[in-house]
């Protein structure tokens, strides 16, 4: 994300950001969905199933986790950001839950 001098001044003065950046962010989000042709229900279901599969192997922080669509250069990516609390395989368990460790699943999907 880029920030301009105006954005920073607006932030310092707690003013609403200039509307162009809001427009840009809203467009990027809506286009990621338009381009993937996935409905909200399907995306929700996929999110649920991905979490179920991952939960078989590692204990994840469900509240912190996010599965979303991002788009850049007409490429749409499914991005999962799932903080791992601890692993479940073998006998090894992490003593302290490390919220810092993240697992990133990325699948690209060229939409034309």
């Amino acid at each position: 994300m880029t920030m301009t001098l105006r954005d920073i001044i607006n932030k310092l003065l707690r003013r609403q950001p200039a509307s162009a950046s809001t427009a840009r962010e809203r467009l990027q989000l809506v286009l990621a969905h338009d381009r993937s042709d996935l409905s909200t229900e399907l995306l929700d279901q996929m999110r649920k199933e991905i979490l179920e599969v991952v939960a078989k192997y590692v204990e994840i922080d469900v509240d912190e986790g996010a599965v979303s669509l991002e788009t850049e250069d007409r490429m749409t990516a499914l991005v999962a950001n799932l903080p791992i609390k601890r692993t479940m395989t073998g006998q090894i368990q992490l003593k302290e839950p490390t919220n810092q460790s993240e697992e990133e699943t990325e699948s690209t999907d060229q939409k034309s």
Binding site: T2, M3, R6, A18, S19, A20
Partner: protein, 271 residues
Amino acid sequence: MATDTRVILICSGKGGVGKTTLTANLGISLARQGLTTAVLDADFGLRNLDLLLGLENRIVYTAQEVLEEECRLDQALVKHKQESNLSLLPAGNPRMLDWLKPDDMKRIVDMLKEQFNYVLIDCPAGVEDGFKNAMAASQEAIVVTNPEVSAVRDADRVIGLLNTNSIKPVQLVLNRVRPKMMANQEMLSIEDVTDILALPLLGLVLEDEQVIVSTNRGEPLTLNSVNSPAAKCYLNIAKRLQGENIPLIDPLEESSGFGAKFRRLMQTKIF
């Protein structure tokens, strides 16, 4: 007879962004460069290209009669009064929509290709049959959009369809640019739109009240008022189509003085 005719679809998805105005002005500009140009009104439901060119009273036959073989192509073509290199093939009756097929559009365009250097197709809004028929007959496309969320979103849909149908090149025209609003970051910037749509920019057109005056008169801006900001933009687009290397107008340069300098400073990217 022209051998390497360029057939260009002018489309946008959303209505009212300036497809027909661009078609009319590009047609005039190309004709003034000595290129024989046909503009085809493919918006059979809501035709307007005749009105913008001031040719509405001179229509005898339309694309419909040509397809039904009730007249020859040259009987339906309406030659422009001042620019004899430009001809309009008017849209037929809205009832044509019931039976028109992509192959019909191809037949019409094939006939036009025999006589003209350029065929510009003024596409209807939407992504339904009207758009698909027009696309079937086209080789390349110009997508017109405004720096507004709804127009950009609809343009994205259209670009997706053009890509899957192997139309290329697809180039972008950003219409109704307001330099002051862009400088204040209250309007999507040129970079924002080209980044999001990932298309090469063929040109931008500045917002200009003269456009309305010219449509009132039925005389496209490029016909005479070369001093209008929008007319200059249209002429530049026509030259770039012809391969000339004309630099883009920087909308921030368009507003001058202290205010503009301040606005440019505020737009400096920090990170």
